[in-house]
């Protein structure tokens, strides 16, 4: 089997704040194979965005600090790479798309310029050839009349069109890996649907490996091969999308899925709700970060961090839990 494209080992990232050191990512490890699409789900403070920014050297330091870990991309440790070599990878081998297409483009430069500068940086294309490539890219992401659009400024584009531009920038140098950080969160639902269609189509055509960070379980179900649920800077559960959605083994995954409105569920008036609030990362709970909100938590959950262990016979399905969720649910069902 081919070596993984990306392998993260024991990554720990912290922020130094006046209130003390806040651990945003705790001992994170996972691998990503070529051609795979990984959906990372989590809410604010889960470490889902921080970990990708950290591995690309995009976190401002201070206050951010990478305390430990390795990030192997095609066998090279990104965290040990000199900035100059990391720069070659960013925008070249690894493309990124950020959440807010409003603020992620420089307002005073034309869209064409912002596309061309990344093309010229990572390829030999110059002048008219770079221009042609930029036109081709806008066309690829479905922007009509690309030649004229290149001469326009970001504020002349709608939110959805701007995000298409960001995707074009991310894809401009045929990256091996595309990372999208909440790329559709700020968009309207119909525009989000179009962008998801576009990305699905592009990754099929170009064979790009994708990390798609979102808080929406629905988006992951539509797009990803593998889902990774994060909470409090740790992985709660991870595995093939089908397996995890069919039988979640983490109470957090289970709660997220249950709290979504179901089709034809009008009869029951109340939604399932996860009690409590996300953890205060400055004072994280001991043990499993989700334990204080978890009705199935055991005493061990409250004191000891559970390791990621195989959850089900499905290969790659892992969970971090001291409790056995399916057994507990089955017992509950049996008791009525």
């Amino acid at each position: 089997m081919a070596p993984p494209l990306l392998e993260i080992r024991n990554l720990t990232v912290a922020f130094d704040t006046p209130a003390g050191r806040v651990h945003a990512v705790n001992d994170l490890s996972y691998t990503l194979n070529e051609g795979e699409t990984l959906g990372v789900v989590g809410e604010s403070g889960s470490g889902k965005s921080v970990h990708v920014l950290a591995m690309l050297g995009l976190l401002p330091s201070p206050p951010a600090k990478i305390l430990s870990g390795e990030v192997l991309f095609q066998g090279r440790d990104l965290l040990k790479l000199p900035e100059a070599q990391l720069r070659e990878l960013r925008g070249g081998q690894i493309g990124m798309v950020f959440q807010d297409p409003m603020s992620s483009l420089n307002p005073v430069l034309t869209v064409g310029r912002q596309l061309r500068e990344v093309i010229e940086r990572h390829s030999d294309l110059r002048g008219a050839k770079a221009e042609a490539r930029a036109t081709e890219l806008l066309d690829l992401v479905g922007i009509p009349n690309p030649g004229a659009r290149l001469k326009q400024y970001p504020h002349e584009f709608s939110g959805g069109m701007r995000q298409r531009v960001m995707i074009a920038i991310g894809l401009s140098c045929n990256p091996k890996l595309l990372i999208a950080d909440e790329a559709t969160t700020a968009l309207d639902v119909t525009v989000q649907a179009q962008i998801l269609d576009l990305v699905r189509d592009l990754k099929d055509r170009l064979g790009t490996t994708v990390i798609w960070i979102t808080h929406d379980m629905g988006v992951v179900a539509e797009l990803a091969d593998t889902i990774q649920v994060m909470y409090g800077g740790r992985i709660m559960e991870r595995g093939p999308v089908r397996a995890v959605f069919r039988q979640p083994h983490s109470a957090y995954t289970w709660g997220l899925l249950r709290s979504l409105p179901d089709e034809g569920a009008r009869a029951q008036r109340r939604l399932y709700q996860i009690p409590g609030a996300p953890p205060d990362m400055a004072n994280p709970p001991a043990g499993d970060p989700f334990a204080p909100r978890n009705p199935y938590a055991t005493d061990r959950c409250r004191t000891e961090v559970p390791p990621l262990r195989p959850a089900s016979p499905v290969p790659g399905h892992m969970v971090a839990a001291w409790y056995d969720l399916p057994a507990r649910l089955a017992a509950e069902a049996a008791h009525g």
Partner: protein, 306 residues
């Protein structure tokens, strides 16, 4: 855009009209010019006759309208002290003021821009500390005192440069440096803080995520955007320099409009005061107008709004 230009021109005209009005009414409170024009001991009848002659006995509003009519024709009356048209006296002094303010501005912006950029990019370094300490001191030092101190050291003690006056390049050095210190301190501090703000923007993260070379990020993403607040500051500083010319020109015995206005105030020479303030204010309005147009060039979002 054309609509915007017309509107902006109208606004400028309105501002100049406001200035003329303020100057007219303020100077009318200053005292009785007729008493000043005549030798001491002139009789009440003589003063009254001159007041009549100067139109000072007419209702204030009529005087104001007459004044406006004259201003439109560029006629501010004859200087009491110089016996020549006031506007002519003022315009003669204009080149000296423009030379001093202009050279101080250029020098100050150059030094301030370099220093501010270094401070922003080398955060936490000794260079930042030194630049910021000097800038803080520069901003806290009153310009006229700095001028006196430089005169004391370079003029009196070392005797390298003239202590005042006008004419050669050597005369320009001290006053220009004095003002440039003030300008560069403001620019450096502003540039540093706006660059630090820009560094936190999402599009800088995008630029870095694109793997751009540091100098590309600096020139096209940081500096290009920092130009906008610096342009605003330039206009404000121009106003400070023009207003402050009264003081600096006095310190350095520099024969510019500022010193002329001060002398005119002391002598209650209304036509010169009015013409002087009018010219300086109009120049300032013009500078603001140009800066406003410059925004349109620098910021496409503003261009779109117009």
């Amino acid at each position: 855009m054309a609509g915007y230009l017309v509107r902006r021109l109208l606004e400028s005209a309105l501002a100049v009209w406001g200035v003329v009005t303020i100057v007219f009414f303020v100077t009318r409170v200053l005292g009785d010019p007729a008493a000043l024009l005549l030798p001491i001991g002139a009789s009440a009848e003589q003063i009254e006759a001159l007041r009549d002659n100067l139109g000072l006995n007419q209702p204030l509003f009529v005087q104001y309208l007459q004044f406006l009519g004259q201003v439109v024709q560029g006629d501010f009356g004859t200087s009491f002290q110089h016996g020549r048209p006031a506007l002519e006296v003022v315009m003669e002094r204009m080149p000296a003021t423009a030379l001093l303010a202009g050279s101080a501005m250029v020098l100050g912006i150059l030094i301030g821009a370099v220093a501010g950029a270094i401070a922003a990019l080398k955060r936490g370094s000794l260079a930042e500390l030194v630049v910021m300490a000097i800038a803080l001191l520069g901003q806290a030092t009153p310009v006229f005192w700095l001028g006196i101190m430089l005169i004391l050291y370079f003029g009196v003690n070392l005797g390298w440069l003239p202590t005042g006056g006008y004419g050669t390049f050597a005369h320009l050095v001290l006053p220009a440096i004095t003002l440039a210190v003030f300008v560069s301190a403001s620019i450096a501090r502003l540039l540093r803080s706006s660059m630090l703000d820009i560094l936190r923007e999402d599009y800088i993260r995008t630029a870095r995520a694109k793997g751009l070379m540091p100098h590309t990020v600096f020139v096209w993403h940081i500096a290009r955007n920092a130009l906008i607040p610096v342009t605003t500051m330039t206009a404000i500083l121009a106003g400070e320099l023009l207003g402050g010319s009264v003081v600096t020109e006095t310190v350095f015995s520099w024969p510019g409009v500022g010193r002329l206005i001060l002398q005119a105030i002391q002598a209650k020479d209304f036509p010169v005061i009015q013409a002087g303030v009018f010219v300086v204010a109009s120049l300032f309005v013009l500078i603001n107008f140009v800066v406003d147009l410059l925004y349109g060039v620098l910021d496409p979002r503003i261009r779109a709004e117009r």
